[in-house]
């Protein structure tokens, strides 16, 4: 009975989330479109810059259909997307999907690697510090993780570049990857940005793991477990961790989302051709179809990750499986 209920609540949650997610995406696309429209200048002015003549501006606007009202262009874009057509970039004339996909692939590779390294590391270190609360190990991880979270990410990036690229010469400072490179070269190229990202997101997850574990550790049932004579690691891993998991998973989802959409500064420092840089470029050029596509992908990433996080939180927490 309980099992069935759990399945039902899972699928209801999924449907609810998917519907809400779609609404969010439409709202975000409208915000992005009209927000970008409010910015001064348009793609014609951004392309020609100081050298614009009124005729050339007029010709570009005419060719791109920019003389039509904004709401009309938005609706046309929306109907295109509903038919699976993301349009062409206003600035370069290339297809939006063709411009975005390789960049998105690069971003996902970077985020995936950073996530695969940082999540187990953060949770492991967090659990270890919680087990040895107040000990030297706990204090050391506390201090180091606080340090890495208190400095801006570009600073971490530059320090790593100075040490590993400029002084030691072990790793390249540019993280440019291209199709002709071998797997080893690719890994070497993205080692520094991955290290930077790991350091940036580590502290947040680590500290959340530690503090939510410790707050569970002070509850009576844990004391009971100790009194039963269980050793500390069994208590922490089997009794405390499942109940402390929900906030940890939420923070992990937030940080994974950040790894996909928020790393533009790291992309700039390491000249990594990712999607964040593409979006910034497109906003600067007022290239609306590209801005829209990036915005949609980023929003979908957040919505998707948070939905997954909610589901995983239900899965790992036995109490949430049975509705009261």
């Amino acid at each position: 009975m309980g099992r069935l209920n759990w399945r039902g609540s899972m699928s209801r949650l999924l449907v609810q989330r998917a519907g809400l997610g779609l609404l969010t995406l439409v709202a975000i696309s409208a915000l992005l479109f009209f927000g970008t429209n409010m910015l001064p200048g348009d793609v014609a002015a951004a392309l020609l810059g100081q050298q614009a003549t009124p005729e050339a501006l007029h010709n570009i606007r005419e060719a791109l259909g920019l003389n039509q009202p904004a709401w009309w262009r938005y609706l046309r874009w929306l109907s295109g997307v509903l038919h699976g057509d993301f349009g062409v970039s206003l600035a370069s004339g290339r297809s939006v999907a063709g411009a975005l996909m390789p960049r998105l692939g690069n971003t996902l590779v970077l985020a995936l690697l950073a996530g695969v390294i940082s999540v187990p590391l953060a949770v492991g270190l967090g659990v270890a510090s919680a087990m040895r609360e107040g000990g030297i190990f706990d204090r050391l991880t506390s201090i180091l993780s606080l340090m890495s979270i208190s400095v801006p990410e570009f600073f971490i990036g530059y320090v790593l570049v100075v040490v590993f690229a400029a002084n030691l010469g072990w790793l390249p400072s540019l993280a440019m990857i291209n199709p002709g490179m071998s797997l080893g070269e690719r890994l070497a190229a993205i080692t520094l940005p991955v290290m930077t990202l790991v350091l940036v997101v580590l502290a947040h997850m680590l500290r959340m793991t530690r503090s939510s574990l410790l707050s569970v550790m002070s509850t009576p049932y844990i004391e009971m477990a100790f009194l039963k004579g269980l050793n500390r690691s069994t208590v922490v891993l089997r009794h405390a961790l499942p109940n402390a998991a929900a906030p940890i998973i939420a923070v992990i989802a937030l940080n994974l989302g950040y790894l996909v959409v928020g790393v533009v500064v790291v992309e700039v420092v390491f000249v990594y051709p990712g999607a964040g840089q593409l979006m910034v470029d497109s906003v600067a050029k007022r290239d609306l179809p590209l801005v829209q596509a990036c915005g949609l992908v980023f929003a979908a990433t957040y919505v998707g990750l948070n939905t997954i996080a909610d589901m995983v939180a239900i899965l790992v927490n036995p109490r949430l499986k049975i509705p009261r």
Binding site: L39, P40, G41, D42, A45, A46, L47, L48, G49, Q50, Q51, A52, T53, P54, E55, A56, N59, I60, A63, S89, A91, S92, G93, R94, A99, P102, F154, F155, Y158, V159, V161, V162, V163, A165, A166, N167, G169, P172, S173, L174, M176, N178, V268, V269, F270, V271, P273, Q277, L278, D281, S282, V283, A284, K285, D287, L290
Partner: protein
């Protein structure tokens, strides 16, 4: 702390500090091979590229596509290291008196990458891409051309609206590149250049390789060229130091001084006529008064700004756009200096005891604009002028502040010809006349000078034009800013540019790598 500030503090300190005191001076640090060696891949780390870049010359406004354009295609006329217009695909030229009608001879036996031989049709087509009903950014640069006609396979006649004795130099515009007649496939451009396109990822990188034998005997040395777009200044320097690129463009004075101490690197400094300007709208009530304009021109300490903001990599401007390096530079005009007393005198003449104005600036206008404005503010206080510095966002600066604000920062790249510099921002008809300074007598004199074929008469007329701008116009030109670029000492044949940087963006075909 900002990212840029961190650069010289740490990134360079870490590397340069360890290397002993090798003394390097710009351009002469590296003993040059007399015979260029062939082969190797040249790697350029450049700012000035974005994902929206295209290799259609009509869209060229930024340096990465322009550089790639010159690797693949040739221009009609080239500007040499001394700033003279010399033949490229146009082999020779001749003007009729009045400089309205010109005949250009086209170089023979030049072959496009697709095997077609260059002729007059290709040239006419390529020029016409930028004329008439076009989206070209070069439309303004060629609007003086009334007609381009093929005379025979190797000759074209260009007829102008108004005489231009320096038409060949005008035709050295970086957008006037030559493609085959009727060519439209700009994703795979075809030209007569030394290199052909292999891969182009806009805003990321571009690779070109040698396209067989090249018609220029002393160019096209390296086997392949890779351009990496590195828009972040710190990342660019890091890439050079860690050996991932051979040459980088646009470094600042502080970085240049640090790199010069290391004998593994060379720094090239070019005076190309690029200048900063604070433009006052002469049609506004306040700045319409020339005494106000003069007061503001005397209230700025140019030398201090050059020393602090440019680390000395610049020359004081004299409130007119022609640089000292030009043969037409008016040497009779005294350099305008920081003179609080004269500023007060002009304020009094304008009937003002003091002045309270707002200067709108942004790093988009020129690098260091905000610092320059703050230094100006300090100096102006001494002249009884309260200068409020309003920092504007870089994004959208050219459409929302420039040409709209009554007093704002701007810049101009060096221009190949004097007329180019004057037409850009000082003639009544200029679309970039950011000080709205409109004087029919100035327009008349500038056009008269442009059509004058006698060099000494032209020089006298242009000197008078400079005086009019210096005395009256709304452009406060505090400084000419050098272009600084840096590279490893392996790069040979590398010289300062007369125009733009990277040897007029033709560096790809000109330098070679020491073996």
């Amino acid at each position: 702390m900002n990212r840029r500030g961190f650069l010289s503090g740490a990134a360079l300190f870490g590397t340069v500090a360890g290397v002993g005191g090798g003394l390097a001076l710009a351009g002469c640090a590296v003993p040059e091979d007399t015979i260029p060696s062939r082969g190797g891949a040249l790697r350029l780390g450049m700012t000035g590229g974005s994902t929206s870049d295209s290799l259609d010359p009509r869209t060229f406004v930024d340096w990465v596509p322009i550089n790639i354009g010159y690797q693949i295609m040739n221009g009609l006329v080239e500007i040499d290291a001394q700033g003279n217009a010399v033949p490229e695909l146009f082999q020779s030229w001749e003007a009729q008196p009045g400089a309205i009608e010109w005949t250009f001879k086209i170089r023979r036996d030049v072959v496009f990458h697709n095997g077609k031989t260059l002729d007059a049709d290709d040239v006419v087509y390529s020029i016409n891409l930028h004329r008439g009903n076009t989206t070209s950014a070069a439309q303004g640069a060629v609007e003086n051309i009334l007609d381009v006609r093929k005379l025979d396979l190797t000759q074209v006649r260009i007829t102008l609206r108004g005489g231009d004795a320096e038409l060949p130099a005008t035709l050295a515009d970086y957008r006037l590149l030559v493609a085959p007649d009727g060519f439209t496939d700009w994703a795979n451009p075809i030209g007569t250049g030394a290199y052909k396109l292999e891969t182009f990822e806009p805003g990321v990188r571009c690779i070109t390789t040698k396209a067989g034998s090249y018609w220029k005997p002393d160019a096209g040395h390296v086997e392949a060229i890779e351009v990496l777009v590195i828009n972040d200044a710190v990342a660019r320097v890091n890439a050079l130091i860690s050996g991932q690129v051979d040459i980088i463009n646009r470094i600042d004075g502080r970085t240049a001084d640090l790199l010069k101490r290391n004998k593994h690197f060379q720094v090239i400094r070019s005076q190309t006529g690029q200048y900063a300007v604070f433009a006052m709208n002469c049609e506004s009530d306040l700045y319409g008064n020339n005494d106000i304009r003069l007061a503001l021109k005397y209230a700025i300490d140019r030398e201090r700004i050059i020393k602090t903001v440019l680390n000395g990599y610049g020359v004081a401007g004299n409130d007119q756009p022609i640089p000292r390096t030009s043969p037409y530079y008016n040497t009779d005009l005294g350099q305008r200096l920081y003179d609080p007393d004269r500023a007060r005198f002009h304020l009094k003449k304008a009937g003002k005891g003091g002045l309270d104005v707002t200067l709108q600036v942004s790093e988009a206008a020129f690098s260091g604009a905000v610092d320059a404005a703050v230094l100006y503010q300090a100096a102006a206080t001494g002249a009884g002028v309260t200068l409020n510095v309003k920092r504007e966002p870089a994004d959208g600066y050219w459409s929302s502040v420039w040409m709209r604000a009554p007093f704002c920062a701007s810049y101009s790249d060096g221009r190949i010809t004097v007329d180019g510099a004057l037409s850009k921002a000082y003639k009544s008809t200029s679309t970039a006349n950011d000080s709205r300074w409109r004087r029919p007598d100035f327009d008349k004199m500038a056009n008269e000078a442009r059509a004058e074929l006698d060099p000494s008469k032209r020089k006298a007329l242009y000197a008078e034009c400079q005086r009019m701008i210096h005395d009256d116009a709304g452009a406060l030109i505090p400084m000419f800013m050098d272009h600084i670029e840096a590279g490893t000492s392996k790069v040979q044949g590398w010289k300062p540019s007369a125009i733009f940087d990277f040897m007029g963006q033709r560096i790809g075909e000109k330098v070679w790598l020491a073996s």
